[in-house]
Structures are given as C-alpha cells and as structure tokens.
C-alpha cells in the first residue's frame, strides 16, 4: 500500500470530510474554510455547516483554497446554501478555488451564478461591502 506520491496530506480513503471553521465576529457574515475533499464522503459535512450558516446569517463566504476535490455532491451543497441565502436577501461568495476546482465550478455553470474570486478579502468585500475580515 506504499503511497509515496500523493497529492494530499491524507490518502482519499482516510478522508473523514472537510474540517470546517468559522469567523463570525460580524453577526451577519460567516466565513467557512473547509479543508479536504467535497466528494460523497466529505460534502455532507459542509452541507450541514452551510445549512446552519444560512439559518443564522445572511452573508457567507466559503474559502475553497484548501479544497482539493469537488464533485457534483459538493456543488449541490453550495447551490442549496446560495438559494437559501438569496431568499433572505443575502449572498454566498466563493474564494480561492484551485485550478481543477475552478474548472468544475466553470463547466457546471456555478461560476455564472455565484461570485468567485481568487482572494478571501475580496470575497468578504463582495459578500457584504461594509464587512471586514476579523479572523
């Protein structure tokens, strides 16, 4: 089972879903920084946190810079959250996707529906113009 060359710190079969964190000093905005893989194993964790975030906030930034893999199940989680936030006058903004994740977002049409920017600070400005990153 030697695995000298991987492209992640952990082999995929050990993935237990993304680690998630929030910065919530502004009561209306939340920043999620998932890590790992948004696949069938990992996306449900983000879906749960996004649902919680959308229930308690109007503006949400998901920093994708530490996401190594995105499949349709992860796209579904992002779109559901974006709809919930839009319905209450809020917004979901994505930041920092890696090249392959950005390609998934582009070909799936998500890039035409949600703001996606390279930089987290810019994403926070887009999500809620008067917010400041406080983390």
């Amino acid at each position: 089972m030697g695995r000298g060359r991987g492209w992640g710190a952990e082999p995929p079969q050990e993935s237990k879903g993304p680690n998630l964190s929030e910065d919530t000093k502004d009561p209306e905005i939340t920043i999620l920084r998932p890590q790992g893989r948004l696949d069938l194993a990992g996306a449900p964790s983000l879906d749960t946190l996004l649902s919680k975030a959308a229930a308690t906030h109007r503006f949400c930034v998901v920093d994708l810079s530490q996401i190594a893999f995105l499949a349709s199940v992860g796209i579904r989680a992002l779109l559901h959250a974006a709809r919930d936030l839009n319905a209450k006058g809020g917004r979901l903004v994505l930041s920092g996707p890696t090249r392959e994740v950005a390609k998934v977002l582009a070909v799936s049409g998500v890039a035409a529906l949600l703001p996606i920017v390279p930089d987290l600070a810019e994403a926070i400005r887009l999500a809620k113009p008067d917010a400041r990153e406080t983390g």
């Binding site: 995929p12 079969q13 993935s15 696949d39 499949a71 199940v73 070909v107 049409g109 998500v110």
Partner: protein
C-alpha cells in the same frame, strides 16, 4: 517524479454501486496513479468521472446495490477507464446536456454528473453486452 507508463498496465477493482464504496474507488485511482505516475490533474479527472459514474449507477438502479467492475488501462499517452454493471440498460452518452442555468432558482443538479464526465474525459463510449452496461471513458495522459 512523474513518469508516463512505458508499457500498458491494467488495474482492476470490484465494488458495489453505493455512495459508501466511492472512497474505495478514489483510493484505487490514487494507488494506480502512484504506480504509473500520473499528473494530479489526471487523477482529479479520473476520480471525478468515477464518482459521478458510480453514483449514477447507484441512483438509477433498484434493489440491492449492484456490483460494479472497474478497469483502468494505462497506455503511453492514453488512459481508458471501463465501468461495467449488470443493471438495467442505461446509456449515459445519450443523456442530453443540461441547459445552462440562468438563475440560482433554475439551477438543477440532475444530469450534472454526466455533464462533468463529458467535460473531464476526452471521450466516452457505451455498449450493452450480455446484459451488462459497459461504459468506457478515455483520458489523455
């Protein structure tokens, strides 16, 4: 170090068409990639296409989870991924591309998996042989 396979190599795996087996599929792809030396972008494409293909089989089948046989054939410059299941006939290559959503409200996930397979592989072929769905996906490597 990344080395292209100098000689053809085959890797096989048998799983069940359940979401729970997909991590095994990803691990199998990574092991094959480590053995033959594939770029991370190719690994990404293989894993994405397999996750979507296996979860599609799970979604379109009834009863107990179907057995799915996977074979990755690596030749210089070209990879062929074969996905076989004994479920009811289902030709994903005939599924039309989903319309590009104009609004979040319009966006539907149905058909997205097959769309991603088309975008991340260089070719697709389907045949039904002896009661088995045979999907072949091709990748440049």
């Amino acid at each position: 170090m990344t080395e292209k396979p100098a000689r053809p190599a085959d890797f096989t795996l048998s799983v069940r068409a359940t979401d729970q087996d997909v991590p095994r599929v990803h691990a199998w792809v990574q092991q094959a990639a480590d053995t033959i030396g594939l770029d991370s972008s190719v690994v990404f494409a293989l894993q994405l296409c397999l996750e979507e293909a296996v979860s599609n089989i799970a979604r379109h089948s009834e009863g107990p989870a179907l057995p799915v046989n996977l074979c990755l054939h690596a030749a210089p410059g070209r990879l062929t991924l074969r996905v076989e299941d004994p479920g009811r006939p289902f030709d994903p290559t005939q599924i039309p591309a989903p319309p590009a959503p104009r609004t979040l409200e319009e966006a539907e996930i149905g058909g997205l998996g097959i769309h991603l397979i088309r975008q991340f592989s260089s070719g697709q072929a389907y045949e039904r042989v002896d009661g088995v769905n045979r999907l072949a996906l091709y990748f440049d490597a």
